[in-house]
Assembly symmetry: C4
Homo-oligomer: 220 residues x 4
Amino acid sequence: MESPKKASTDRLEAFSDGIFAVAQTLLILDVRIPDSTTVALASQLSKLLPHIYAFVLSFLIVMFYWTAHHVVFNVIVRSDRRLLWVNALHLLFVVFLPFSTGVLAEFPDAPLAVDIYGTNIILCSLSLIALWLYAARERLLSDELSAADVRTVGWRLAVNPIVCAAALCVAFISTMAAILLYLVTPVWYILTGPDVAAGDAGTWRLPAPFRRRTRARSPK
Amino acid sequence: MESPKKASTDRLEAFSDGIFAVAQTLLILDVRIPDSTTVALASQLSKLLPHIYAFVLSFLIVMFYWTAHHVVFNVIVRSDRRLLWVNALHLLFVVFLPFSTGVLAEFPDAPLAVDIYGTNIILCSLSLIALWLYAARERLLSDELSAADVRTVGWRLAVNPIVCAAALCVAFISTMAAILLYLVTPVWYILTGPDVAAGDAGTWRLPAPFRRRTRARSPK
Amino acid sequence: MESPKKASTDRLEAFSDGIFAVAQTLLILDVRIPDSTTVALASQLSKLLPHIYAFVLSFLIVMFYWTAHHVVFNVIVRSDRRLLWVNALHLLFVVFLPFSTGVLAEFPDAPLAVDIYGTNIILCSLSLIALWLYAARERLLSDELSAADVRTVGWRLAVNPIVCAAALCVAFISTMAAILLYLVTPVWYILTGPDVAAGDAGTWRLPAPFRRRTRARSPK
Amino acid sequence: MESPKKASTDRLEAFSDGIFAVAQTLLILDVRIPDSTTVALASQLSKLLPHIYAFVLSFLIVMFYWTAHHVVFNVIVRSDRRLLWVNALHLLFVVFLPFSTGVLAEFPDAPLAVDIYGTNIILCSLSLIALWLYAARERLLSDELSAADVRTVGWRLAVNPIVCAAALCVAFISTMAAILLYLVTPVWYILTGPDVAAGDAGTWRLPAPFRRRTRARSPK
């Protein structure tokens, strides 16, 4: 009975994956190709640098959300209609990132542009937290997950929006510092985050950093 | 014998999903990134608002059609050549939405733009109804579906184009009212619509709002 | 032994499907959104009509090639390295269609534009025929397929490039007539073509129009 | 125990495939559609030729990396968190190719543009080599692979960046010669490269050119 239900979130995940992949690739369109009719290439490249930095930044951030999305859906084993629409809200904010990235690249020194970008990230995170809380309340999660596990994951998901909210204020002092703050959680996640691929494997397994110490270590 | 036939609509659905995902993500390209060489960002943002509203509107509407597409294909268990092309017609109108959205965002006060957008939605709905009627006539539907069920789904699919046809007229009085009318069916669907994910699960199950009262409730 | 080999062409088909879906959706970007700062919407719509016609034309043609691609891969049960690259050549010409479509829409009265478009279609067809002949020569096809079947499919695939080659000449007399000729094969295919979905079903079955009369009818 | 682990890299591969397919299709957007309001089509086509050459070049190169990616993932049977991020780095450089292609097409005679393009290719290759070395060091590879096999694949992957590094210097003498050098490895790969499709088939099989002579030939 569990397996067909799991199959249903698979389709939702496949559709979400498609949107993640397209959004992540569209980011490159923000790095506009210089025009050969005006000036030499070399003199145009320096103007392109903020666009390239913004592309790399957003590529990592979309990858980070793709990973987080999978970690969350690894433990969501049941699904209902409202979950679909909370997920749609999350995807909406992810699809918005190519726009925010373009604004950030055009106005890298404007606190307003940096804050638009940060707000977009915060909305991505808050919608993911909403997804998690909804799934927990409606008991759509795997039964292997204890109430403490649910709280731990919830708090960990809350780290990114809290850091980014601080960055929103920092942007008025230094836009560069704010942008670096946006990178803190993804980089922390890359270095210590959960093992999505292994977590996908058949039976459910809470990813390492979400696992409580008291559990026996699963054999590698 | 049923299962390989079902597999064949899976491929059609996977291809359709790809088109839905790309169309939905391309919508963000309509929100054009402001140019830093002309004026300050803040003064450009107000001009962007209609584009952002139109993006959110269309994102919800494509999501709504993706859901409706799945509900319909949940109960289509056989497939034939003409079904493929009626489906292609539906996809054509869905892929057209990023254009209509862009026109609406550029001319939010023009009844013509609002009506182009509404006509596009009506064509999406009519082609989906055509798909449903064709599948019903050619007996491509699950045998579990009664004639009354088929009629109920048909009428429910007809709600959206009827509301939107009314909106086409309203647009000449108030474009804002017309746009709000376009949102009525998707929002009603989000709040009370069928549970796509659960409906996907292995054996066929008519989604809740399409189910007749007399049927026993399936165990959750 | 057959089934894992079939699995390998599944992955190639899935990747090809992705490219087909993206190319088909990108077509809408050729229908450029009118600019609200210059003139009224109504006066700009007439200039958009060739773009919309070209979009619908190319949407049908990409759908036609997607169908043809599946019919061909339904009976290709083995795969090798060169098949991958002949397939890549076919995809290259399919991905080129959004460009040819844009040129056709910009210059609908120029025989040169109509011929660029037609040449693109011919190259799509020739690369698909090359794929078919290569698969036949290297014995990558299902053993159920007789030599006569292989020839029949080959000739049927040749209809489109022959009609389009005629259209290339007709374009110098009437561009409209040439464009209508491009539509002949896809429309003929839509009305009488093979049943891709059913053909996908598990065991191999030559699609109806490719089947020789002498064969017993397979049970529906 | 092996099969669920393999399943997890399947998801990573499916996501990567999506990004490859979108990046490959976005290349066509670099071939900008001529404007009918300025000059005749024929006189604009010659300016388009470098864009078309660059499109074909990059289409083949992305296809080449898609093939290489699959060959590598055919023998990666276990996965961990860091592999995901090394793979993300590889995808980042692949997604960057549409930009480099556009720059190359705009400035086909500028050594700087040719070197930007070449650097992008080198980074694609180096990140793939990093993926391979990481997988080998962390013992994520199939146990059927001998240490000699691992070294052979590593050296073969190193051919492309070495040729391209030479091309970076050649570009200052002849940009055309440098561009032809970029094509050497993909063409060599097309003519003699591994059989990805067959290699995908269920049980692992080192693709022909990576196989050591001493092994018995697997039955075709």
